[in-house]
Amino acid sequence: MNISEKVVKETAELAQLVFSDEDLSVISGSMSEILALVEQMQEVNTSTVIPMSHPLDATQWLRPDEVTESSHREEFQKLAPEARDGVYLVPRVVD
């Protein structure tokens, strides 16, 4: 399957990535190569196979509804590129 630069751009938009024009052709080339490899799967008839999301046929155990976390706000926000008055900041967003 050939991935056009248009599809690369749309995909990059979903992934919030940006590529230079030069990189666009490189990435569309390598995505096409990888997807050609992936295409091999189509040889197999899987019409009756139940998809497998997880390597274990197990089910989930749950957690008691008990508070186990305390505030580490100052420690966490030291790691933030931009925070003020306990709040994370980003360039202004208009809803």
Binding site: P64, V67, V87, L89, R92
Partner: protein, 479 residues
């Protein structure tokens, strides 16, 4: 002109579940804390953290499912819904797409004319809430508070079964009452515990194709929901009537301007790329688990209605209206039990109480007349202390706060019904003496004049005459 458009509404209601901790972390859910003080590493989507499901969200979601007669999925699973937004720390929301906990169900909602309507529920699924973006107070910045991120939500999706904003509000109120009653949610609307997304479209009457819909997001009061839907209906009809087309889009309701407008941040068509959440395994429950929850549930509105109908001999219609709201049902049962006459209690609540509530825009929880006051009032009707007319005046007195005690008020204002044979007999004789012409006409066959005499008796007694007794005596004496 507007008659030719049919309105179609479906609601997605997000209910915050009443739990101590978040759905996937052990951080507290207490409302109103310092920004980001209740956002732990998991809520913040830090590297290497993992979600672990809170066991308390399942019984709550299942109680709701049983409450609407839906089917409970024995195997449910979480999925990731991918999109970027600063209040969504991981860049995906953990939700249930393919295998929601509740499938199907329906509720009966009361309409303004007193009838009931069935609204079908498509599904209800568990998911995590996002954080809060604050656009004011930070100059050219938006502030992000992630305390709300990870609060457990039950998203209840209805079928597009509603045909007016009034029906939508009635449905939303019903869901609010139900989740509060079942203890699924604290129902605190002012804290965002119940938020609605309204899918609204219009189509020509008779069409069986749905029109293009818009989704108005995140409306957190019934009043705003009503306004937002009405605005949206009017806007869409206006566009269609001027030959335009409706854009499928996400809109926001702005209460200050009383209008909806498109959300700019979600303008681009979203491709959420749902896929199974690999950090969580499917959750399996058995019938015993569900039955255990069912056993602990309070009586549901529809079960209550059946009981009122079968055991208390109310009409099915009366029974449904009184059972629709748990608070109303409780009020009715108290009054009925104390006064000993279910039918009388039902009539008074449906006609007198609901009428006044509707007129004054009050809820059963904040009306000025307590159930035991009304019960005493009805008891005084039953023991012939007062007649119906006096009782209505007395109800008004209670309603407007002119009294708190039924019996004191009757005594102080001398409202006791005149039920004395001789006293009424003497009065009737006097009325006959003063109105010989009418007596003559009655006896000549104008039996309608009985009403005139009853009116005279009431006038003379200040409305306190026992109406049945007065009728009896009048007939006898005129006969």
């Amino acid at each position: 002109m507007r008659q030719q458009w049919e309105v179609v509404i479906g609601l997605e209601i997000h209910v915050q579940l009443q739990t101590r901790t978040k759905i996937f972390s052990g951080a507290s859910t207490t409302f109103g804390s310092e920004p980001n003080s209740q956002a732990c590493a998991i809520d913040l989507g830090f590297p290497g953290v993992l979600p672990v499901v809170n066991s308390e969200v399942y019984p709550k979601a299942i109680a709701f499912g049983l409450g609407v007669g839906g089917s409970i999925n024995l195997v449910s699973a979480f999925d990731r819904k991918n999109y970027f937004y600063p209040d969504l720390p991981k860049g995906y929301q953990i939700t249930q797409m393919d295998k929601p906990i509740v499938l199907g169900g329906s509720v009966e909602i009361p309409l303004a004319d007193g009838s009931m309507k069935t609204i079908n529920i498509t599904r209800a699924h568990l998911e995590e809430d996002a954080g809060k973006s604050m656009h004011e107070d930070f100059h050219d910045r938006t502030g992000i508070d992630l305390n709300r991120a990870g609060i457990p939500l039950l998203e209840i999706v209805s079928e597009p079964d509603m045909r007016s904003s009034a029906e939508a509000i009635s449905y939303a109120r019903y869901i609010h009452q139900l989740v509060t009653y079942l203890g699924v949610s604290d129902g605190e609307m002012s804290q965002g515990s119940l938020r609605c997304d309204a899918n609204v479209s219009v189509r020509p009457y008779g069409s069986d194709v749905l029109g293009t819909r818009t989704e108005t997001k995140n409306v957190n009061s019934f009043r705003f929901l009503d306004r937002a839907i009405r605005y949206e209906i009017a806007r869409q009809i206006e566009i269609l009537e001027s030959g335009g087309r409706i854009m499928q889009e996400t809109r926001l309701y702005d209460p200050d301007r009383d209008e909806t407008r498109p959300m700019r941040s979600k303008e681009t068509a979203m491709d959420y790329r749902y896929f199974p959440e690999p950090d969580l395994l499917p959750i399996e429950i058995d019938h015993a688990y569900i039955e255990n929850i069912r056993r602990q549930m309070p009586e549901l509105p529809r079960e209550k209605a059946n009981r009122f109908h079968t055991d208390l001999h109310l009409s099915l219609d009366d029974a449904r209206v009184l059972a629709a709201s748990p608070a109303l049902a409780e009020y009715f049962e108290t009054v009925s039990g104390q006064c000993g006459d279910a039918k009388l209690a039902s009539n008074w609540i449906r006609v007198e109480l609901l009428g006044r509530m509707h007129r004054d825009d009050l809820e059963i929880s904040n009306i000025p007349v307590s159930s035991s006051q009304l019960a005493t009032l009805l008891t005084r009707i039953r023991d012939n202390t007062i007649n119906g007319k006096t009782a209505k005046d007395l109800l008004d007195a209670l309603w407007y706060g002119n009294t708190t005690s039924v019996d004191d008020y009757i005594k102080d204002n001398n409202l006791m019904q005149v039920s004395d044979n001789s006293e009424l007999g003497t009065l009737i004789d006097r009325i006959f003496d003063e109105n010989p012409k009418q007596v003559e006409q009655y006896r000549a066959g104008r039996s309608r004049l009985l009403g005139f005499f009853v009116g005279q008796v009431m006038k003379e007694t200040g409305g306190k005459a026992n109406p049945a007794l007065a009728n009896d005596l009048l007939r006898k004496k005129l006969g």
